[in-house]
């Protein structure tokens, strides 16, 4: 009993020390892990920036003109009268309806609407959705 009593503080101290060391080791490991992930993230972000820069480079008006001229394509701006403006701006048809008011369907206010999740509602899906 005396032996256990005299060893107990040493054991507690040793366990606490080991836990502390383990924690520090984990911290260092975590740092390396974060660094690796950060490097990967930065590399991907850099690549994205580089690619968008390349796109801007390719879209430069002077480059486009040079490329087209090299292919004997001479593009000029349309003259007066070549462009006919439509009375209303053309809005391309969207797949699906995102704004119900624009589709002429008014959504009615439902006081028990918060219970909707209990019973599943039928939803119309467009082909390809």
């Amino acid at each position: 009993m005396r032996l256990i009593r005299s060893f107990l503080p040493i054991v507690v101290f040793t366990v606490a020390s080991l836990m502390y060391v383990h924690q520090q080791v984990e911290l260092v490991k975590l740092s390396y892990h974060i660094e690796t992930k950060e490097k990967k993230l930065n590399a991907v972000l850099d690549l994205r920036e580089q690619l968008s820069y390349n796109i801007k480079n390719l879209e430069a008006p002077s480059r486009l003109e040079r490329v087209l001229l090299a292919k004997n394509i001479d593009i000029t701006f349309p003259r007066k009268g070549n462009v006919v403006r439509m009375a209303r701006p053309y809005v391309p048809a969207k797949r699906g309806i995102t704004d119900i008011r624009s589709a002429g369907i008014e959504k009615k206010f439902n006081i028990f609407g918060f219970l909707d999740f209990i019973t599943p509602k039928a939803e119309a899906h467009q082909a390809g959705d």
């Binding site: 974060i34 850099d46 820069y53 801007k56 480079n57 430069a60 003109e65 007066k80």
Partner: protein, 557 residues
């Protein structure tokens, strides 16, 4: 007996261990307590690192938010010469990849230092190839590199930065304080391989990235202007050329281009001649384009009417010792015809009727004595003498654009007076400063213009300048779809106190459409050869630029 010896030996071993332990404990106490500060300082120096985090320089956009200048991350190759074993072989293997001389790399590797730059801001491909060699002592760190996706586009307006991203020229210099941003700091622990340990970060002050600039320049119009200017520059073997395209209603500079130009991404290899922004740095005697000032002043002061007739002396008029010549001999002409045909004699006679005080007043009002105050570095105001320094023959020279100087931008502002109902607008090249999130933090509003001419004079001058294009010296500026007005100029260059007989500056200033001008343009071609008349070398540039620009603008509306 045996047990006694055994106990003595046990005691000896015990004492030995106790003593050894005591020595260790004492040594530990000495290190941990007595020399605590000393060793802590050494350890801190090795583990703790304080690093500056460079801010990202702001982006420069055109008026339609097209990117003109942006910062991209780029690797810089460095070496620890002490760690490089075979210096000669290393130099041979990396010099080819980096495109630098082997001797240069060897010289760097031979230095007794622990850090030397080999090449900064290299391409991603070159960096990857160097890293793949896995040479001990050679490594790369990331830096931010200024990149220009449109290469030569608006190079003189945008300007360049140095290797540390400090503005050197153009807007990069003028707005460096906005674009540069503020560096941040991190104080952290590093391991034996100098890797930062994120979990042991003591202090972190994030960098403040630079603000963005939104210009009044339109990338498409700038491109049109550069294309047409380059054609004329090559065709007429010119020494230099400039063009400024402005919206006369607001003073917004839509394009400003010069030839020769250079690739902003390769500014190191540019020629000296290509560095100057000639449109604001170079002044010259404008020649006949200056007659718009004389004519406007004479009409405004009612010294002459458009129908007044003058004898143009069949192209030669002797005034004391000075003889005035016209390019083509003319007899009696109306004042309108005088400007359309660009008669020097007729213009001088009209100016003399008006008087030199009024001539001087309008030169000042048109802004030829001042800088335009555009937000670009190095603008000059010219070298125009005050009236008390004018000579007896000044009134025979100034009205036709000699003895006065102007920059291409000043000429653009002058023609904009006629295009903008008599108001002199201040040119503007930066619209906004925005933060990295895109919120506007500073606006540059259109400056309040000064009234120079009455509406009546403006309408008369528009008619006269339309006549220059339709039936005068500027026929090559005539467009099929739009009516324009303008004035040609062919100025002899001054050299060694006299006017050169074979060096000229051909210029054209104009506006379009005549009814409601939205463009004011000045074109000047320096030393064109073999053709040198402004109507032949500069007017076609005006026509092509304005034609394409108006068509482009009509698509945008």
């Amino acid at each position: 007996m045996h047990s006694g010896i055994l106990r003595k030996r046990q005691l000896a071993v015990f004492v030995f261990f106790i003593l050894s332990l005591s020595i260790l404990v004492l040594r530990l106490l000495y290190i941990q307590v007595v020399k605590h500060d000393f060793y802590k300082r050494i350890a801190d120096d090795q583990h703790t690192v304080s690093l500056e985090i460079a801010p990202k320089r702001g982006t420069i956009f055109d008026r339609n938010m097209r990117v003109l200048a942006v910062n991209l991350n780029s690797d810089s190759i460095f070496a620890n010469p002490r760690a490089v074993k075979d210096k000669r072989r290393t130099a041979a293997s990396i010099s080819g990849i980096l495109g630098i001389s082997e001797d240069f790399v060897y010289d760097r590797l031979s230095r007794n230092k622990s850090f030397v730059w080999i090449k900064r801001k290299v391409s991603p491909e070159a960096s990857a190839r160097v890293k793949a060699l896995k040479i001990e002592g050679i490594d790369a760190i990331q830096e931010s590199k200024r990149s220009y996706p449109n290469k030569t586009l608006a190079c003189h307006v945008i300007g360049t930065v140095d290797i540390d991203n400090n503005g050197l020229e153009g807007l990069e210099l003028y707005y460096n304080k906005y674009l540069k941003g503020e560096p941040g700091w991190v104080v952290s622990t590093q391991d034996a391989k100098r890797k930062l340990l994120e979990s042991y970060q003591y202090e972190y002050i994030p960098p403040k990235n630079g603000f963005n600039l939104v210009l009044t320049i339109d990338g498409v119009i700038q491109s049109i202007a550069e294309r047409e200017l380059a054609k004329a520059f090559d065709k007429f073997n010119a020494k230099g050329a400039s063009i400024v395209v402005m919206d006369p209603r607001t003073g917004d500079v839509l394009a400003m281009a010069n030839m020769p130009n250079y690739d902003l991404n390769d500014a190191k290899n540019r020629s000296k001649e290509s560095v100057r922004n000639r449109a604001i740095n170079d002044f010259f005697e404008p020649g006949s384009v200056f007659k718009i000032v004389t004519a406007s002043a004479a009409l405004e002061e009612k010294a002459v009417a458009l129908s007044d007739k003058f004898n143009c002396e069949n192209g030669e008029w002797r005034m004391g010792r000075r003889v005035l010549h016209d390019h083509t001999p003319h007899g009696i002409m109306t004042f309108k015809e005088i400007i359309e045909k660009s008669s020097n004699i007729g213009t001088v006679k009209a100016a003399i009727r008006m008087g030199q005080e009024k001539m001087y007043k309008y030169i000042k009002l048109f802004g030829f004595y001042d800088k335009t105050d555009i937000d670009l570095p190095g603008e000059v105001a010219g070298m125009n003498r005050p009236i008390n320094k004018w000579s007896k023959v000044s009134m025979y020279a100034i009205p036709m654009g000699q003895e006065v100087t102007a920059t291409a931008l000043q000429l653009t502002c002058a023609i904009a007076v006629i295009a903008d109902n008599g108001y002199r607008v201040r040119p503007r090249i930066v619209k906004q400063v925005t933060d990295p999130a895109g919120s506007v933090i500073k606006e540059f509003p259109v400056k309040v213009p000064n009234r120079v001419l009455s509406t009546d004079t403006v309408l008369k001058m528009r008619g006269v300048l339309n006549g220059v294009v339709n039936s005068g010296t500027g026929k090559k500026a005539k467009m099929e779809d739009y009516e324009s007005g303008g004035k040609t100029g062919t100025a002899q260059k001054a050299e060694q106190g006299a006017y050169s007989k074979n060096r000229f500056i051909g210029s054209f200033i104009g506006f379009a459409p005549v009814e409601k001008p939205v463009l004011a343009v000045a074109v000047s071609i320096d030393e064109p050869y073999p053709v040198y008349f402004g109507g032949d070398v500069a007017a076609p540039v005006f026509r092509n630029v304005v034609n394409d620009t108006l068509r482009y603008l009509s698509l945008k509306d």
